[in-house]
Amino acid sequence: MEIINLKIDNKPVVVKKGTTVLKAAESIGIDIPTLCHMKLDDLNIENKPGGCRVCVVEVKGRRNLAPACCTEATEGMEVSTHTMRVVNARRTVVELILSDHPADCLICAKSGNCELQDLATRLGIREIHYKGEQSTYREDTSPAIIREVNKCVMCRRCETMCNEVQTVGVLSAVNRGFNAVVAPAFEMNLDHSVCTYCGQCVAVCPTGALTEVDETGAVIRALSDPTKTVIVQTAPAVRAALGEEFGMPAGTLVTGKMAAALRRLGFDYVFDTDFAADLTIMEEGTELLGRLSAFMEGDKNVKLPILTSCCPAWVKFFEHQFPELKDIPSTARSPQQMFGSIAKTYFAGKLGVKREDLVVVSIMPCVAKKYESSREEFAVNGNPDVDYALTTRELAQLIKLANLDFRSLPDEDFDQPLGESTGAGVIFGTTGGVIEAAVRTAYEVFTGKSLPRLDFEELRGMDGLRKATIDFNGTPINIGIAHGLGNARKLLEEIQAGTSEFHAIEIMSCPGGCIGGGGQPYHHGNAEILKKRQKAIYAEDKNKKLRKSHENPYIKKLYEEFLGAPLSEKSHHLLHTQYFDRS
C-alpha cells in the first residue's frame, strides 16, 4: 500500500494513496464543509460531481482552487483550507446558491434538516450580495414524493441514487446553464414516470427539493374525529431509528417509548407490523415450500426462484422494468397491506366497528408505502385497507407537536391481538431479514425438525449482493439477497437469461433494507448510522422469546379463528395480490 505525505493547514498528514483531500483533512480533525458530495461507505455509493464548489481549498502550485471532495492527495501536497481566498470563494458560492433559492426556510419541509441552511449558518451568511432572477419550476406532487424543483441545487445526489444505485432512471440532469435542473424526462410528473417511489432521492436530497407527501394533518384530523376508531401499526425498522429524531444515538431501540408515544397521541390501539410480518412468513413460506416441493417432484412448470414481495418500490420496479417476470414473485401482500386487510376485516369484526369507521394508520420507514396503500387493489369499495402511511420522520413530527418528551416516556407494550410478534418479524427491517425469517419457518415445516440454530450469519451483512446455501436436512436451498434496485436488476437479468441458481431471493429496494428507507431520519451521508440500526434490529430479535413466525400464538389463533390455513381461499382473498404489466 502506497503512503502519501502531505500538509493540510501546515499540519503533516499521512494517508493511503487514493485518499481525497477531504478525507485526509477529516483524519486530522479539519472539517471542510461540503454540499454536493456524498459517500456511503460499504454500500459503494458515491456522489462527487465536484459541482457545488463549497469544499474548495487552496493547493500550493495550482492556479485555481480545488474541490477537496474530488482532489486526490498527492505526495508533498500543501493544502490550505481556510485562507481568506478560500473563505471568500466559499461564502460567495453559497451566497450565489442562496440567490437562486427560495427564502422560505421558515415553512420549508426540510427546515432544521437542510444541509444548505446549515451551511449558510456555518458560514455566517447574513446578506446576499448578488440578487437576481430565480429559477421557477412547476411543483410536482405524486402519491408519495413532492418535487419542489425551485429548491434544487444541482448536487446530483438524487440522480446518482436513481440511476447508478437504483437503475430506475427517472431522474436526469436536463437543460443546461442557469436552466439546468434535475427532472424526469420531458419534465413530466413523477406519477407518469417509472418512478418506484423508493424515496432514496428524498433520503439524500440536501434541501427541500425532494420531500415525502405530508399526511400528518390528515392523521391529526382522524385522531380528533370521535366517530372513528384509529389504530396504528409500526414497521420493524422504525423502532431502530426513531430515537435519532430526538437526539438519541443511532441504533437506540425505542420500541417501548414509541408505543407509549403513539398511545399518548390518541391512537385507540397500538399494533405492530411485525405481527403482519409473521403472517407474511406463513403465507410466503408456504408458497415457497409449495413451489419447492413441486420442483423437487419434477414439475417443469413451477416458477423458481421465488422472490419476496414485501417491498412496494421493488414491486413497482419489476412491474415497469421486468413485466415478463411478474409471475415469479410471491403473491403474498406486504406486511403493511396484510395488516390493513386483517384489521379491516377480522379486527373490525371483533370490535364490531364498520370498516368505514376504522382508520388504519401505519408508521413506515418508507415513502413508497404511501403509494402502496393507495393502490386500487388494496381498497374495498374505495375504502383503503391502510388509510395513511406516515414515515418515521412524520411520526417524530407528530410526537413533537403533541409536546411529548419522547426521551422520558416509559416503555410500554403493544396492544393485542395484532401487536404480538416474534423475532422473525422484527428482522424484516434489515436486508436479509425476510429471507432469514422465512428460512426459520420453512426449514421446520419442510424437515419437520427443530432448527439447530436461529442466527443465520451467512444471510446477514451489508454487501449489496449476497448468496448462501442452507441445508434443509440434505436438500441444499440456494438463497440470494439483493438490496438496492441496481443489485436486484443483476439477479433479475440472471433469471431472464435462465442462469439463476437460486431457489429463493429476497429483494429490498433501499440500501440496507428498510433501516435505510426513504422515510427514515436523514442519515446525511453517514453509512455508520445504517449499520447501527441493523445491529439494533438483530438485538431486538435476539431478545425476543419467540423467534419463529409459526410460533406466534396470535398468528395461530388468527388462522384458527378466521383464515383457516395458509393459502386458504380466505387467505388468497385477503392476503395475496396480483401484479400488473406497467411497461
Binding site: 440511476n163 436526469s172 414516470s193
Partner: protein, 168 residues
C-alpha cells in the same frame, strides 16, 4: 402526458438507425443526429423509442437532447431562418438584423410562424465571418445583411411558396 402514436414507418426508421449503430448507448448523439435529420425534430415519442432501442432511460435521452442546442423537440418552419450571433456578426450589427426579422415575422427566437412557413433561431458562428453579419435560410447563406435587406430576403421565400402553390 398525452401520447401521440408514432407512425409505424417512423418507428421502423428509428429502429433501423439504432441498429446501424449496434444499439450502442455510446452512439446516442449520432443516433439523435440521424433521426433528427430524417424526421426534422425529436418529439417525446421519438425519444422514447430511441431509449428503448438503446436500452437506456428516456430521462437520459431527454437530458442529452436538452443539453445540445442542435437538437430540437419542436418542428422547424418550412424555411428555418438562423441569424449568426458570433462576435464578428455581432459587432457588425447582427442584433439589428435579428430584431428586424423578429419584427417582420412577429415571432421570437425559437418560434415558428403560425403558417409554419418560417422559424427563427440564433446560432453561434457559422465561420463565415468575412461576410458578417450572416443570415441563413435553410442551407443558403446570406452575407453582409442589413436590416433593410431583411424584407427582400423573406419575400424571396414567401413568393417561392406562392409559386410552388400555383404549380402544385
Amino acid at each position: 402526458m398525452p401520447k401521440i402514436k408514432l407512425a409505424e414507418k417512423a418507428v421502423d426508421l428509428i429502429r433501423e438507425i439504432c441498429t446501424k449503430f449496434n444499439n450502442d448507448e455510446g452512439e446516442l448523439i449520432n443516433v439523435l443526429h440521424q433521426v433528427q435529420s430524417k424526421l426534422g425534430y425529436l418529439p417525446a415519442e421519438v425519444q422514447e423509442v430511441i431509449a428503448r432501442e438503446l436500452n437506456i432511460s428516456v430521462a437520459k435521452v431527454y437530458g442529452v437532447v436538452t443539453f445540445y442546442s442542435f437538437f430540437t423537440m419542436l418542428p422547424k418552419g418550412q424555411h428555418p431562418i438562423s441569424v449568426c450571433m458570433g462576435t464578428a456578426c455581432y459587432v457588425r450589427g447582427a442584433e439589428q438584423v435579428l430584431s428586424e426579422i423578429k419584427r417582420q415575422l412577429s415571432i421570437e427566437v425559437g418560434e415558428t410562424t403560425p403558417d409554419g412557413r418560417f422559424s427563427l433561431s440564433c446560432l453561434r458562428c457559422v465561420g463565415a465571418c468575412g461576410l458578417a453579419p450572416v443570415v441563413m435560410v435553410g442551407e443558403k447563406v446570406y452575407g453582409r445583411v442589413s436590416p433593410q435587406q431583411v424584407h427582400k430576403i423573406i419575400a424571396e421565400y414567401k413568393e417561392g411558396c406562392a409559386a410552388e402553390a400555383k404549380t402544385a
